[in-house]
């Protein structure tokens, strides 16, 4: 491997950017292709497919054998609301490999005692997300069912294209939420991306059980997703 390729790949990983290392298995030459870079011909098509699926593998192109190693950022979970469900969900999600952040401006809820070992921020989501923006590789889980707290991060997650957006609340609560998001200018189709009622239907009752159903739904979204491939004329959508 070319040392420059290694350095660029690690830099892309630190910046949470998706990239593919393309190695020509005939002569060992390699290079890095970022999501959105244009590569012509058969090889370009294969790279696009690999990025979309997130799967590494061998590709035959132009009569040569290439290995395409896809590197996508580790998934993050941002939980809005330091509530009882979050106390179970945060450690479970960490165990499943997610980088977890809990955000809640209500300092009575967001206490270090209630969230030991968690990355907890006692501040308004609009302030926190300014410094730590959401991205495609993030799951947004909103569980306060308080519009003052949940709505901003939900809108932001839908606009960013987070791979999962879920919101807690009864059908009635969600109905009112849909109306507010429409007024905020979001299309019905976009709003339809919100998982509500949140979680897989396993009859979960306790906070820990609801956390399991939410985590299972997030993992389903993560493992069955299509990665966005940036088009040259679409701009910075990824």
């Amino acid at each position: 491997m070319d040392p420059h390729v290694l350095k660029s790949l690690n830099a892309a990983k630190r910046a949470r950017e998706a990239a593919v290392i393309v190695t020509d298995l005939n002569d060992g030459r390699d290079r890095m292709v970022r999501a959105g870079d244009h590569v012509a011909g058969e090889l370009g098509e294969a790279i696009g497919k690999a990025l979309k699926s997130g799967k590494s593998g061998i590709a035959e192109a132009e009569g040569r054998e290439f290995f395409l190693n896809v590197h996508v950022p580790p998934a993050r979970m941002v939980i809005i609301g330091a509530v009882h469900i979050s106390q179970a969900l945060a450690p479970m999600a960490r165990m499943a490999g997610f980088d977890v952040t809990v955000i809640d401006p209500r300092t009575a809820f967001a206490t270090p005692e209630r969230f030991e070992d968690s990355d907890l921020v006692a501040d308004w989501p609009e302030d926190v997300l300014k410094d730590r923006p959401l991205d495609y590789f993030t799951a947004l889980v909103a569980v306060t069912h308080d519009p003052k707290i949940d709505d901003y991060p939900l809108i932001s997650a839908l606009k960013t294209g987070c791979f999962y957006v879920g919101a807690l609340g009864s059908r009635k609560t969600h109905g009112r939420r849909v109306e507010r998001l429409k007024e905020a200018g979001l299309s019905e189709q976009t709003i339809g991306r919100i998982a509500a009622p949140i979680g897989l239907p396993i009859g979960a009752a306790s906070p820990a059980e609801i956390a399991v159903s939410v985590l299972a739904q997030v993992i389903e979204a993560l493992r069955t997703r299509d990665l966005p491939v940036r088009d040259a004329d679409e701009g910075a959508a990824a």
Binding site: D2, P3, K7, K13, T23, L25, G57, F67, N69, D99
Partner: protein, 111 residues
């Protein structure tokens, strides 16, 4: 330390960059193809230095020893190799995968 920093530390390619900056010669092994039940997915890395120190994995510990031995030769020659491992044959004491899968590992020198 944040969780992403911890992930950084476990990432074999991040470790490889650190070793490179220390001036160590090293090889990178990559799982490029798997058949059947393979312990590590395609794209997994093992990095090895000239003294045989290693980080990461290409199997669940079944064939790492053999890859490390070959890596030392690859570091010397600079010529990449393709290694194949199949089912372990206990009677012949051959290195292999006890799970019954088959893997192809591409082994190359860094730089």
């Amino acid at each position: 330390m944040s969780l992403s920093e911890q992930a950084d530390i476990r990432d074999p390619l991040m470790i490889a960059e650190g070793w490179m900056n220390e001036g160590r010669d090293l090889a990178i092994a990559t799982v490029v193809e798997t058949w059947g039940s393979a312990p590590r997915p395609t794209g997994s890395h093992l990095v090895i230095d000239a003294e045989g120190n290693f980080e990461g994995s290409v199997s669940g510990g079944c064939v790492e020893g053999a890859v490390i031995a070959e890596a030392i030769e690859v570091i010397e020659s600079g010529k990449p190799r393709m290694l194949e491992f199949g089912v372990a044959d206990e009677t012949a004491w051959r290195v292999g995968l006890s799970c019954g899968g088959k893997i192809r590992v591409y082994l190359e020198r860094l730089g």
